[in-house]
Amino acid sequence: MVIIYYCFGGAHSSVLAAAIHTHMLSTDRIPKKDEIINLPHYDKTPSQMIGIPFCFGKDEFGNRVYILGTGKAKKIVINALKSFMEIEEINQDEVYLENTLKNVNLLVRIGGFLSRGLGLIFPGRILTVYGLQRAYPKFVQMVKRVKEEIAVA
């Protein structure tokens, strides 16, 4: 099975969710700043790479976990994926899509814009980390729900 966590730029919230999913980050405590910053792809996806799904790793069930930035074309990209699955005759249960943006607070949005949008990496990155630390319990809950739903499927 393929699990795709998607957000606007594929650089912050989707990376965090994928890291929790693949046990790179612990679920019983809030990770430190360096643990988040050192995640693969964290705050690194340049805007010209938005749209490309990146493989993040595998979870304990052997499912492949991907991160994806959809930019302003969220609906179109999701439609394209569904349409592609249809023409490839891939069962809908084979792919799980999760929008991580719904857990994102204002700090992460501002930080992401500063870092990825304006190139102000230092203040932007700090803000995103701080914002994600504050929202961390929500992310843990989301990943738990995703895993439960996958198990049912």
């Binding site: 179109i76 994926l81 592609f84 699955m85």
Partner: protein, 146 residues
């Protein structure tokens, strides 16, 4: 292999260009090309199967809005992850979007479809020579892919 003709929306330009590719001949006339594009569902991002070319490649149409790079990269990525049928080639139709075709798109949004079709036809007529030339080159390129 799959070939995707993409433009802002599935309109007369996209349909005619893909038809030119499917029925390619150097001396093809616009009057020989089908224009029944309005029966195609208009949801952006959806791949619409149009037919199979002479090299057994499947040909699709896709409306992708303004974010062509993101949507095409995403599809290439999905193809890399899931596909068993090899390469995917994209044919961008935005170079042919002249003033008439943009105006037609605008009228289409206002639900003035009849008027939009007439203006589109004018726009496609203006670009047809170039389309035929470019599709000829594209056809040869596809032919050379093993």
């Amino acid at each position: 292999m799959r070939i995707v003709f993409h433009s802002r929306s599935i309109d007369m330009l996209a349909y005619v260009t893909a038809q030119v590719y499917l029925n390619y001949r150097q001396d093809l006339k616009l009057t020989e090309v089908s224009f029944d594009y309005w029966e195609i569902p208009q949801q952006l991002g959806t791949l619409f199967f149009l037919g199979t070319d002479s090299f057994n490649n499947k040909v699709y149409l896709m409306g992708r809005g303004k974010e062509k790079k993101i949507v095409c990269k995403a599809l290439m990525g999905f193809n890399r992850i899931f596909s068993s049928s090899g390469k995917m080639i994209f044919y961008d139709l935005s170079p042919y979007e002249n003033g008439y075709l943009r105006l037609a798109l605008f009228f289409n949004r206002l639900k003035l479809e009849g008027l939009a079709r007439k203006i589109s036809l004018h726009g496609v007529k203006g670009e047809f020579k170039q389309i035929l030339e470019d599709i000829g080159e594209f056809y040869e390129r596809v032919k050379s892919i093993p």
